[in-house]
């Protein structure tokens, strides 16, 4: 039973989430009735049902086809049969290692209902046999790969394999793109093709692009962000010879990249902290509360916690942080930092453990991470500061409006509301802008 005792590194604290995946000894002696070909993608282990595999291949020469989605590498001549080649790494938005020229790509030829199709992976590993009852359903924490493309998870010799459902990923049925949040209905693999021709007015183009953004990334264009989308369309069109054609996940990602606020996914640095500090309301009553929906893996929440601790040394500080990404938010309380990337401001708030930095227990205590969906929130925690950056723009319009009016009803004029750099809260509410520098902020009039 040593397997249960082996550390599972980051997942260790949450091993219960995987408890059901642990085989026990009686099960291990069971009949092996499921075989899978295993391979690696971006350093992780995956498997695919051997019954779907026609052969293991090394693609030494294939032909690129213009005007196809980025994940289609080209076509391959398999002893006279022409088959399409899909690069799984591009499809799943994983890094593609630099290929030595002339080195053949490794992959599999799959026999799916729709015919033969080739896939490229980082490395083919081996054939593994397991009792099929050990296969566990995918857990929502894998949602960022896309739950619907996973048929199960299995542990074998201390390695966790994600079994991909190739029929669903590559079969004839429309497949949701890997980036799509699990709640939105499945869309087509690539969005509607949008081309700005002379006949389409600028407004029409914006609506078409908005539909693509919504189906591929969950970004919803409303009055909150319409000004940014309009300006971005103009700069996109200028950079692409006057045409606007946004159809793939990669293009959507590229389009939205300038949307995200500074310090997304990392700690705020001194400039941003100082600017927010000048906007903070004066202390009243000895308690300072902040609300941080969409906290992801917690960098933003800890930045807020440290800022409030430094700004209100005598007050009791509390930060309410929440996200729907179960894995991200589960790991957030134990966030570790790369010492080389921690701004000096945070030094008094962190401790060194081995070669990593972590926040001190007294800082961790004031941040309360919740697994929660903003769309279900009816009552806000008490708050003097709301940090809701690039979160509203990814909610359906009615939810954007509901959350904004809830904020208006349940907070007072002293509450500072920090939004994403390109979100115009005043367009959805009676709030007035109090932005300073790169910090976009609002207050109720």
């Amino acid at each position: 039973m040593t397997k249960h005792e082996e550390p599972r590194r980051a997942f260790d604290r949450y091993s219960g989430l995987f408890a059901a995946a642990g085989p026990d000894e009686t099960e291990e002696r069971e009949e092996i009735d499921y075989r899978m070909v295993t391979f690696s993608l971006g350093g992780k282990d995956y498997g695919v049902d051997i019954m779907k595999v026609a052969e293991i291949a090394r693609y030494d020469r294939y032909t690129c086809v213009p005007n196809t989605p980025a994940f289609v590498s080209g076509v391959y001549n398999l002893r006279g049969d022409i088959i399409s080649l899909i690069d799984m790494r591009v499809l799943f938005n994983l890094p593609v290692p630099q290929q030595t020229s002339g080195e053949p790509e490794e992959g599999l030829i799959l026999r799916l209902d729709g015919g033969l199709i080739g896939v490229i992976v980082d490395r083919i590993d081996e054939v593994v046999g397991i009792p099929s009852r050990l296969i566990q359903p995918p857990h929502p924490i894998f949602a960022d790969v896309n739950l619907r493309s996973i048929s199960g998870v299995v542990e074998h010799q201390s390695r966790l394999y994600i079994i991909l459902d190739m029929e669903r990923i590559l079969g004839e049925a429309p497949v949701p793109p890997p980036e799509e949040p699990p709640d939105t209905p499945p869309g087509p693999l690539s969005g509607p093709r949008v081309e700005a021709d002379a006949a389409a007015g600028p407004g029409e183009t914006a609506e078409l692009v908005a539909a693509t953004l919504r189906s591929l990334s969950g970004f919803v264009m409303t009055d909150l962000n319409r000004a940014w989308v309009t300006q971005r369309l103009r700069s996109w069109s200028d950079a692409h010879g006057g045409t606007v054609e946004i159809t793939t996940d990669a293009e959507v990602e590229e389009f939205l990249r300038p949307f995200y606020s500074p310090y997304t996914g990392r700690l705020w640095d001194a400039d941003y902290l100082d600017t927010v500090r000048t906007l903070l309301p004066p202390e009243a009553g000895g308690n300072v509360h902040a609300w941080n929906p969409g906290c992801a893996n917690g960098h933003e929440s800890y930045s807020i916690a440290c800022l409030l601790r430094a700004s209100y040394p005598d007050a009791r500080v509390k930060v309410w942080a929440a996200d729907t990404d179960l894995l991200g938010v589960s790991m957030a309380p134990g966030l570790t930092l790369d010492p080389a990337r921690v701004p000096r401001f945070y030094e008094p708030f962190t401790v060194e453990t081995d070669d990593m930095h972590a926040f001190r227990a007294d800082v961790r205590e004031i941040v309360l991470f919740e697994f929660s969906d903003l769309r279900h929130v009816q009552k806000l925690p008490p708050c003097d500061l709301i940090v809701i950056r690039d979160v509203l723009s990814f909610l359906p319009e009615e939810d954007q409006r509901r959350v904004v009016s809830m904020i208006e009803e349940q907070t007072g004029p002293a509450t500072l509301i920090v939004t994403g750099s390109h979100e115009d809260l005043d367009q959805l509410s009676g709030c007035v802008e109090v932005s300073r520098g790169v910090v976009r902020a609002f207050r109720q009039a």
């Binding site: 989430l17 408890a19 059901a20 359903p137 995918p138 179960l326 309360l368 697994f371 929660s372 969906d373």
Partner: protein, 158 residues
Amino acid sequence: MRVEYINPFVEAAHDVLKEVLQTDVKRGELYLKSSATPVLGVAAIIGLAGDVEGRVLLDMSRTTAIQVASAMLAGMDMEPISELNEMGRATITELANMITGRAVTKLHNLGFAFDLTPPALVTGDNMEISNANVEALIVPMELPQGKIEINVAIRERG
């Protein structure tokens, strides 16, 4: 719901069901629900108080309840039941108690102080339960006897 609370409930539900039923338990995907939640037919409710306020609901169909209770009784060399009689209701109530008790013990070891109310069992058709402003975490468990949903709604006390 606070992330630290999730795992104790998932682990407790899985372990207790596996132990008392001596069978395989598959955990489905966790998800969040708000507002009125339909109840499958038999629901054991336990209130939570202390650092938090909220409740745990163990929800299953009548058929599942009878089969689960029978399996638990068989494990104690007692006669199985064919309808949800007093013994069956007491057995399901006890199951809810065991799961919640195990979870609260785990939480206590993590430094969270929770108190439990005595369980209540509610049965009927077309029932809904509403959570006043509290989002519920649903932990579905698949058993040979059917599906049991552990529905946990907890909020911090302001």
